[in-house]
């Protein structure tokens, strides 16, 4: 039987963790872009697009991410798209993140007093100018904590991509545990690596919050 050193285990997990990071980044950036677009459309206040977006958000918030991954992975294959696990996992997580971020950010924009919209409208600012110069700079401050909170959820959520065969941290952990017969040690390392990813994000968020609050106590 082959002996595995701790370094063998950690080294392989670290290699797999790159994919966790990559998947998180893709989902967060993709979800952020789509979510921001949905938010802007929603703020324009037209009834039909608003109902569609609300339905989209409800759909992704009301079903398990695991089901979304399965449905997308097998659904795309059924429709004749020959996608890799990487593409379908990235796409599913992007859609999932966009629904959540659109909703989180809508809440932040709605937290800005109505008087700010009215004052800027009275000064003849256009909708785009109101958003970029008055509303969003204030909403961003409120948005940092919940957005980072969601990013941490998303990093941990990428673990589910292992079910469609995407080899990221969790999947690699399972594979290594199977050959080393040391599941406790391996999954312990996996957990530590997730913590190592998420904790700095939270720390950075705290410093960002402080920075954004300078000049506005």
């Amino acid at each position: 039987m082959i002996e595995f050193t701790l370094w063998d285990i950690v080294r392989n997990l670290l290699l797999a963790a790159r994919w966790t990071v990559a998947l998180s980044l893709v989902a967060f950036i993709g979800g952020g872009v789509v979510g921001a677009a949905l938010l802007v459309v929603r703020l324009m206040g037209r009834p039909t697009p608003n109902r569609l977006i609300a339905g989209y958000v409800q759909l992704f918030q009301g079903t398990p991410l695991l089901m979304q991954l399965f449905l997308l992975y097998f659904g795309l294959a059924l429709m004749g798209f020959n996608t890799s696990a990487w593409v379908s996992a990235g796409l599913a997580l992007t859609l999932y993140a966009s629904a959540y971020l659109a909703d989180i950010w809508r809440g932040c924009v709605e937290a800005i007093p109505r008087g700010q919209w009215e004052a800027s409208r009275s000064l003849a600012l256009s909708f785009g100018q109101q958003l970029t110069h008055v509303i969003l700079p204030q909403a961003v401050r409120i948005a940092v904590p919940p957005t980072v909170g969601f990013l941490v959820q998303l990093i941990k959520g990428t673990a589910l991509a292992s079910v469609v065969g995407f080899v990221e941290l969790t999947k690699a952990g399972g594979m290594i545990a199977n050959v080393t017969y040391a599941p406790l040690l391996v999954y312990g390392c996996v957990a530590l690596l997730y913590f190592g990813l998420c904790f700095p994000v939270s720390l950075y968020a705290r410093s960002l919050e402080r920075k954004l609050n300078v000049g506005h106590r």
Binding site: P113, G115, Q116, E118, A119, S120, R121, S122, L123, A124, L125, S126, F127, Q129, H133, V134, P137, Q138, R141, G215, H216, R217
Partner: protein, 266 residues
């Protein structure tokens, strides 16, 4: 008073409207507005002459704030027409609305300064974005206007470092920076501590003396009596009584106005 610079006659900071002095600058005819089935304005006709100072009084829920907010399009009305300094109010056209809003300034009860911008940048934001004013002119004008409201030294302060009265004076300077032909004041002293009311009213009074057309919803009856050319008493969505301050306060014609005035005594 000493903090507020006396305006020199030939060197007014106020812009000249298109409308001639004495000609109607705001024309409202047969204006009706409802929220769902509830009608809040039941046919308002009102002409405001350039340079006129109008005080609108009445109980809460009488439609006075709603009327004011219709004039710059913050509220949508269903029937009737409205023009300001020759610009008609057209909801369908975002361009026309922005044109109109450049003619009308509005001061709010809750100040509504932009909390993330310094005082100076609050004043300069709209001229920069909407009028594309160059930074140098914009800044010197902002400084002039802040001096005008007695806050020259607060240019770099943040709004939350100011008292309510100071914030409201910044809001006035911010409105004036857009060179409005008409200024709407929506209960602008109602959120202020009593000792801060005077400094704001003095600024408004000096604007009135300089010939600014003013429409103000107010609970300050003494101020209305002193400054207004015409007082409008609104009741249940209609102009119930209208006339000079002396006539309205001294000799109210309707029971509703008498009741309203006596309710203020308590």
């Amino acid at each position: 008073m000493s903090a507020i610079a006396e305006p020199a006659a030939n060197d007014s900071l106020l812009a000249t409207p298109h409308t001639q002095v004495g000609a109607p600058i705001v024309r409202i005819s047969a204006l009706r507005k409802s929220y769902g089935t509830h009608e809040v304005l039941k046919g308002i006709d009102l002409d405001v002459k350039r340079g006129e100072v109008i005080a609108i009084i009445g109980k809460s829920g009488s439609g006075k704030s709603t009327l004011l907010r219709c004039i710059n399009g913050l509220e949508v009305f269903q029937e009737g027409s409205l023009t300001v300094d020759g610009k008609p109010l057209l909801y369908e056209s975002a361009m026309a609305m922005r044109e109109l809003r450049q003619r009308v300034g509005m001061i709010f009860q809750s100040f509504n300064l932009f909390p993330h911008l310094s005082v100076g940048r609050n004043v300069m934001l709209a001229p920069h974005l909407v009028k594309r004013k160059n930074t140098k002119d914009n800044e010197s004008r902002a400084r002039q206007l802040l001096e005008r409201v007695g806050l020259a030294e607060k240019f770099d302060a943040m709004p939350d470092q100011l008292s309510g009265g100071q914030q409201q004076r910044v809001a006035i300077a911010r409105s004036l920076a857009m060179d409005p032909a008409v200024l709407l004041c929506d209960e602008i002293t109602s959120a202020l501590d009593p000792e801060l009311v005077g400094e704001v009213l003095r600024v408004v009074e000096s604007l009135a003396n300089e010939g600014m057309t003013l429409l103000m919803v107010t609970h300050e009856m003494n101020f209305a009596r002193k400054v207004a050319d015409r007082v409008i008493f609104m009741h249940q969505g209609r102009v119930h009584e209208m006339g000079s301050p002396d006539a309205l306060f001294g000799n109210p014609q309707t029971a509703e106005l008498r009741q309203f005035l006596s309710s203020l005594q308590d």
